[in-house]
Amino acid sequence: MPRLEQLAVLQGHEDRVWCASWHPTKPILATCSGDKTVRIWQATNASDPTQWQCINVLEGGHKRTIRSVAWSPDGRQLATGSFDATTGIWERDEDESGDYECVATLEGHENETKSIAWSKSGALLATCSRDKSVWIWEVEEDNDFECLSVLQEHTQDVKMVAWHPNEELLASASYDDTIKIWRDDDDDWYCADTLQGHESTVWAIDFDPSGNHLVSASADQTLKIWRRYAPGNATGIMTPRRGEAVWKCVATVKDQHERCIYSVSWSKVHGMIASSGADNIIRLFSVQEVDESAAVEGKLTPEQIKATNEPGVQLQAIKVTEVPSAHGTSDINSVAWYPNEDHADWLASGGDDGSVRIWRVVRD
């Protein structure tokens, strides 16, 4: 069985690490922290992934904790979401100092910004906040941003936003226990679906490589996998709104995590899911279709699917490995798979111990 091997421990943050984000093309990692900074890390020697150094510290842009950090798809910019209610846009001065400077600040959220995400094309930026709203910004020239929509249908704190890997479709996860799917029509964005099923806060979400599945991590100690059913799907799931797909839960991973799950990452390369949370354990799962003939709890017959309009269990997440006490006795707030084939087996994690760790999947 594959296992997870620790390559490096990155020390430098002076408070808990909230979020780790890989550069889209280079072996560079950005992490943010309660110490109000972002640190940029790079392997000292390209051939040795055990030696890392902090090459930049982004300071002074935010007055409070930086809760999330995300690279733009072209890797030229970084966005930071802070508890000071603002979103920062950072750019590296390629010519001179090589330092990052804050080139734009997006205001509008009433309080803590919890998460930010760039769309695949880099043309859109989504932000969400404790003020229950999700905002969509259009990226314009000269570091200008135009607010396209303010979405206020969540009834509680919105914890995370994530874009579909190929389409202009946004998912948001909330303290109201739901996930919402957002799309745009001619004039404005609207809620295309609300995914109900979790029994507590949904902390994190991520799409699979195809974008037809979404994994969610919740304080109810489960992961759920949701599948998109387009109108006229072969399974026979009804799609009440004309032309609009629906998302249905097709797998629930329970009795694995023993406390809140805070982070989940679905590899865009090999399709493995990593999750972490308050039980200090990093777990890896592989996902497969439920066998036609296998007797699996929750699997439904075609008649039952028709009667309930629910697909039942269609996928199984098999645990591949786990690392207990991956950050000692600290909560693990973030796990992130390396985004491309170069180092698809690398995983980054950040925890309450203030450390950032780099892991590698090893197949014995």
């Binding site: 309660g34 904790t65 508890f83 734009a104 600040t105 205001e107 509008g108 959220h109 009433e110 309080n111 003020d131 709203s133 200008d144 941003f145 135009e146 607010c147 396209l148 929509s149 303010v150 206020q152 249908e153 704190d157 004039d187 404005d188």
Partner: protein
């Protein structure tokens, strides 16, 4: 941060609970010094039981509208808190009090009750009950007079004053802004910009001089950074932002204090009606402001917040210019409470002359017809100011935004953001003389705020409305039959807004000249300022509850 308008699209209930961030300490007068137990009886009332067993009923803590205005923790329209203060119940109470006063022959508690109805409310009822706005106005007059209301007026009358004042204020600001160098005047002769005209009458085909760079007309202040423009003075601040929407005002005061100098100081039509009724009407009829009870019927819940602003409260008479605002929805509720369900079966009554926009039909000389300023259903501020400023500043007559005459009207980005530009006739493509915008809904307000803050706003005037589609889609408007899509419904109500209403320029309202002369002592007098203008106050951002969890 949000306001009611953004919620109305999806939330039919439209009642918003106080925010979890409400930090207003509830104060209740302490009646006893000693500590005792608290008892709750069957009715849910609280009693304090002192050590000797004496029970005192405890006062219920209430949070008033003004508490909410003073706090930044809550969203602007916390209706659940606010209904107790301004509702049809209050109007019923006053009418009942009047009955008792008459029965007991005690005139001291009798108040003259005046109801002023907004044109958006008329349109809402007309669309829902398949009536004309005139019929609605007459039926509402009948309804309110049967209840015991003394006078029924129309806020399109006071809107004429609001439009005139807004136009004047804009022209004055524009001139001061030019004088101070905040903005530059465009070239009126259509020639090349100053920097190149210095070279004399150069020929347009001179190779090295072709295509002079377009000049930035708006001076950027604090561009490049997000720092607010320094020391912006109201008298010359550009762009001037319309002030009629209370949701927008409240939002700006709570979260964007640096926007306040840009906001027009002209009172909204509702509050000018308040001045007219309490001050002018009162003096004509020998009534002090507190002897009049003034109700406005509005398309919007946030108008209640506006009415309760301390700026519109008289300490001397302990009364407000508008005592109570009830929404279109609440009036419909009153029908039911009076046992009247079918509005088409209501009687009709002539509207009171005076502060009304009704004239004898010029063709028959008989029946009443409605008149009102042209323009969009949010009051027509953009249209009027453009028309007025084109004439006053540049001598261009005949501008009509509705018909796109003399101006270019463009929808930008989404249906709720429009740009209107005035170019020098015969000089298409030249630097526009005036550039206006209508920005409705929260997202467009965000972009406007951002542009102004970074000095990138190209506009001279912006009509700002919190609700998508503007006032016609206000949070207090009647709800359509669920079978009708909201977009279609808004179009229907919008059509009703103009249905049978004769367009009349505000300056053609014959009563206004007389009001300026006899009531205000002229234009721009201290009294005109007192009655027609107001000011704005930034609400200090309270620090977020320090105990707030860091999740």
């Amino acid at each position: 941060m949000a306001f009611s308008g953004a919620l109305t699209l999806s939330d039919l209930n439209d009642f918003i609970s106080p925010s979890q961030a409400c930090i207003k300490p509830v104060e209740v007068a302490k009646t006893s010094e000693t500590q005792g137990a608290i008892k709750v009886d069957n009715s849910g009332s609280y009693y304090e039981v002192s050590q000797d067993g004496l029970e005192t009923k405890l006062e219920t803590a209430t949070i008033s509208l003004n508490d909410c205005l003073a706090c930044s923790g809550c969203i602007t329209s916390a209706e659940s808190v606010l209904v107790t203060l301004q509702s049809q119940e209050e109007l019923y109470n006053i009418l009942q009090q009047n009955k008792v006063a008459i029965e007991t022959n005690d005139r001291s508690t009798h108040r003259t009750v005046v109801v002023s109805i907004s044109p958006q409310t008329r349109a809402s009822f007309a669309a829902k009950y398949n009536l004309t706005p005139l019929q609605v106005a007459r039926k509402l007059t009948w309804f309110f007079k049967n209840l015991g209301v003394h006078m029924v007026f129309d806020t399109s009358f006071s809107r004429d004053l609001a439009l005139l004042e807004t136009g004047r204020e804009f022209v004055s600001r524009y001139r001061k802004a030019v004088a101070k160098g905040v903005i530059k005047t465009p070239n009126l002769d259509g020639s090349a910009p100053e920097s190149t005209t210095a070279a004399g009458d150069m020929e347009l085909d001179t190779p090295q001089e072709v295509a002079p760079k377009p000049r930035k007309r708006i001076v950027r202040r604090g561009a490049a950074s997000d720092e607010p423009a320094a020391a912006v003075e109201t008298e010359s601040a550009m762009p001037m932002l319309a002030s009629a929407c209370p949701g927008w005002i409240c939002y700006a005061e709570k979260t964007h204090g640096y926007m306040l100098p840009y906001i027009s100081e002209t009172k909204s039509p509702q509050q000018i009606m308040g001045s007219l009724v309490k001050n002018h009407f009162g003096s004509l009829h020998g009534l002090t402001p507190n002897q009049i009870y003034h109700v406005c019927v509005m398309p919007c819940y946030d108008k209640k917040l506006e009415a309760s602003r301390s700026d519109f409260y008289s300490d001397l008479y302990q009364t407000r210019d508008v005592d109570c605002v009830i929404t279109s929805t609440e009036v419909e509720k009153m029908f039911g409470e009076q046992g009247l369900t079918d509005m088409s079966a209501f009687g009709e009554r002539d509207m009171d002359l005076g502060y009304n926009s009704v004239i004898k039909d010029p063709s028959t000389g008989q029946d009443q017809v409605l008149v009102g300023a042209a323009g969009n259903a949010s009051g027509g501020f953009l249209e009027y100011v453009m028309q007025y400023a084109a004439r006053e500043l540049f001598g261009i007559d005949g501008v009509d935004v509705d018909q796109a005459l003399g101006v270019e009207v463009k929808t930008v980005r989404n249906a709720d953001f429009k740009e209107v530009t005035l170019e020098l006739p015969g000089q298409p493509g030249a630097e526009p003389l005036l550039k206006f915008a209508a920005a409705y809904g929260f997202r467009n307000i965000q972009n406007l705020v951002r542009k102004v803050k970074t000095g990138k706003s190209p506009y001279h005037f912006v009509e700002v409305m919190a609700c998508p589609s503007g006032c016609i889609n206000g949070g207090g408007q009647l709800k359509q039959d669920t079978s009708i899509p909201l977009k279609d419904w808004i179009i229907q109500v919008d059509e009703q807004y103009r249905n049978g209403v004769m367009a009349r320029k505000p300056e053609d309202n014959p009563a206004l000249a007389q009001l300026y002369r006899e009531w205000l002592g002229g234009v721009d007098t201290p009294k005109a300022k007192e009655q027609l203008r107001t000011g704005y106050h930034a609400v200090e951002q309270n620090l977020v509850n320090p105990l707030a969890v860091k999740w």
